[in-house]
């Protein structure tokens, strides 16, 4: 795929204050800086498992999440670090997750940004199986409809995930029930190594909308203000009972699927071109300092603040300890609260105690 030529910044969407324009910049910058920190920690082998980047997709993540209220529920994927930060996830949480710390949001049970909070900040912990979050969010938003709560849900899928049966069943169910759900397809050109053209024969993924009886709208995913505006319209429509909207945002995955991926399958010059011509932060900086007349040092101040926050968060996260092994057995069910410890962990039993459960059964005494 080729980079689209540099567009001129859109007019500020109605209702965005100058503070909010800076806020958008702050979230995008925080996303990028935090990821750069994660790369450093990854190289120091402090990250357990893989590292997934959203470099070049920050506008898509931040602009869409920014259109939600606190009570609205967001369902992120691995490229949505920015969305989660906007929704209230903290750098410390993210760093602890990646380093598998005991006080991470999942207490070391799940990887990277697979975590959530549906009690206060309202974002749902994703699973790896692609597409599955769409039916789940159909149900989250169905509950809003049934209870007549003025809340909206937003679920992200990649271009690749649109091929899953779960995506299809979830969008169709939400559409036929007119659930207040916004489905954001982040078309970043690749699913792992597979280009979008090998994923779907349709030139525009937004064209799937009419097949579900919902609007299908494509937008420039690297223009944070356009992403915000189109998402805001879809969110309003959902809140007013207008049901589902399918948004396709065109963006580009500049890094590999994960850090280990050398992108050998990417045509020469492609990533460089996107970096040079269509970086969402560069574009937004130009818009802010150009069209909206912000001073360069206003942005520099934000950059500095972000660096400090990420430094501070890293110090805190690095001091966290590893999980307590026995905690691995808790919370599978509400009842029983703990799963039993295997008999041999209770120590070797003599023949005398043969053939009854070892005394230590259910307790951990190794």
């Amino acid at each position: 795929m080729t980079a689209t030529s540099l567009p001129t910044p859109a007019a500020p969407p109605a209702g965005l204050s100058r503070e909010q324009l800076l806020e958008l910049y702050y979230w995008m910058r925080l996303t990028r800086t935090l990821e750069e920190r994660l790369v450093a920690l990854y190289r120091q082998t402090k990250v357990v498992g893989g590292l997934f980047r959203s470099l070049g997709q920050e506008a898509c993540a931040v602009g869409s999440a920014f259109a939600l209220r606190r009570e609205d529920v967001l369902s992120p994927l691995i490229r949505n670090l920015g969305s989660m930060l906007v929704k209230g996830a903290t750098p410390v949480e993210v760093l602890r997750q990646y380093m598998a710390k005991g006080d991470s949001p999942t207490r070391g049970r799940e990887l990277n940004i697979h975590f959530g909070d549906v009690t206060e900040r309202n974002f749902v912990g994703q699973i790896s199986h692609l597409g599955d979050m769409v039916p789940v969010m159909a149900g989250v938003t169905l509950s809003f409809k049934l209870r007549q709560e003025p809340r909206v849900g937003l679920v992200y899928v990649g271009d690749g995930a649109t091929s899953t049966g779960a995506f299809h069943e979830g969008v169709n169910l939400a559409a036929v029930q007119r659930c207040p759900l916004v489905v954001v397809v982040e078309n970043n050109g690749y699913a792992y190594s597979t280009p979008t053209a090998k994923q779907c024969a349709a030139e525009r993924l937004a064209d799937k909308g009419p097949g579900y009886g919902v609007p299908g709208i494509r937008g420039d995913g690297n223009d944070v203000l356009e992403v915000y505006r189109l998402t805001q319209e879809a969110v309003d429509r959902a809140r007013q009972g207008g049901g589902v909207t399918l948004l396709e945002f065109m963006t580009y995955r500049r890094k590999g699927h994960a850090e280990h991926d050398n992108q050998s399958y990417v045509p020469a010059g492609e990533t460089e071109r996107w970096a040079a011509e269509n970086d969402p932060l560069d574009r937004y900086v130009r818009a802010l300092t150009g069209t909206y007349g912000f001073a360069a040092d206003e942005l520099a101040a934000i950059d500095a603040r972000v660096r400090e926050e990420v430094d501070a968060a890293t110090d805190v996260a690095e001091r966290s300890g590893t999980p307590e092994p026995l905690d691995a057995l808790s919370g599978v069910y509400a009842e029983p609260a703990m799963m039993p410890v295997q008999w041999y962990r209770a120590g070797v039993r003599s023949a005398v105690e043969v053939n009854e459960r070892a005394q230590g059964w259910g307790t951990y005494d190794v």
Binding site: H114, F115, G125, S128, D132, G139, S143, G170, G331, R357
Partner: protein, 325 residues
């Protein structure tokens, strides 16, 4: 009080819970105006309205996932599989998303997935399945498979009140064939407790669902014709399993036959045998034996289905073998 069928008992349990808790609602195919393929939800749309009895598209993964999402938000969805055979389409959603939600993300997921299961009804390979074994190694799920109207009602109510996801299998052979007078007033049966369906001293039969009735039939014959006293343990709950009740019956009779309708290979009898070995091996005076379906997809023609599935005469033979041992 008059007798009610197994099916009617389930309907009573569901509607009592819907009365009690306005967060309980139903999702499934053709459960509204039509009342479900077997009419389990008949009348509930009229009684509780479209908000609480929702007809879905043909999307098992879709509405199981939707149930989970609604459950996260505090609702208590009860999902019907038109036939339990179609639960396979939601296998990923149940085992990966639903079962792990509490553990990996502290997401509550109180929901029930219920539907007609089992054979002996000429349903062929896709309308007769017993899927319990496929979910047994999935921590996070609970599995219930009752055999009497009272247990069906008491357990569906407990399942709906449970804080986690319960798979509730309803043997369609029992729906209209089994009747009894239900206990008066609020009737709950706790998940995880087996029931001694018949007391005996010589041989124990451990079973559940439709084969409980075949075991009881066999037990009567064995008593009358061979003077063998058989104890029948109805597990009722398969996950969690009632180890104490299993150990108690083994220690009492020292001879065990496990009977189920699923295929012998990979069926739940394996897990039960392992637990018996683990917990009361020394009390065994004979090998634990199995009576279960032959290892084939369930064929449709009566002559074939009858041959493949376990029959009362098979149980009689197997128990006599164990008694002679």
């Amino acid at each position: 009080m008059s007798e009610v069928t197994f099916l009617e008992a389930i309907r009573q349990g569901i509607s009592e819970e819907m009365e009690r808790d306005s967060d309980v609602f139903l999702l499934g195919e053709d459960i509204g105006a039509y009342g479900g393929a077997f009419k389990v939800t008949e009348g509930l749309l009229e009684r509780f309205g479209e908000r609480r009895v929702i007809d879905t598209p043909i999307s098992e993964a879709g509405f199981v996932g939707a149930a989970a999402g609604a459950a996260h938000m505090g609702m208590r969805p009860v999902v019907e599989m038109q036939f339990i055979d179609f639960i396979s389409c939601a296998y990923d959603m149940l085992t990966n998303y639903v079962a792990t939600a509490r553990y990996r993300a502290f997401l509550p997921c109180p929901m029930v997935v219920r539907g007609p299961s089992g054979g002996y009804v000429r349903g062929g390979p896709f309308h007769s399945q017993n899927p319990e074994a496929a979910f047994l190694h999935t921590p996070g799920l609970k599995i219930v498979y009752p055999s009497t109207p009272a247990d069906a009602k008491g357990l569906i109510k407990s399942a709906i009140r449970d804080e986690d996801c319960v798979l509730f299998f309803e043997h369609k052979y029992l729906y209209r064939r089994i009747k009894e007078t239900l206990p008066a007033g609020e009737h709950l049966v706790p998940i995880g407790q087996a029931r001694v369906a018949r007391a005996g001293t010589d041989v124990s039969i451990i079973t559940y669902a439709a084969t409980v009735w075949k075991a009881l039939e066999a037990a009567e014959q064995l008593q009358q014709e061979h003077g063998i006293s058989v104890e029948v343990l109805d597990l009722r709950s398969l996950l969690p399993m009632d180890d104490a009740a299993i150990v108690a019956t083994v220690k009492k009779t020292n001879r065990v036959l496990i009977v189920h309708e699923d295929t012998v290979t990979g069926g739940i009898a394996g897990e039960i045998t392992a637990r018996i070995n683990d917990l009361c091996f020394e009390w065994l005076d004979a090998p634990v034996k199995r009576v279960a379906a032959h290892d084939v997809p369930l064929p449709y023609a009566p002559a074939l289905e009858d041959f493949v599935l376990p029959q009362t005469s098979d149980i009689v033979k197997a128990v006599r073998w164990l008694a002679d041992y």
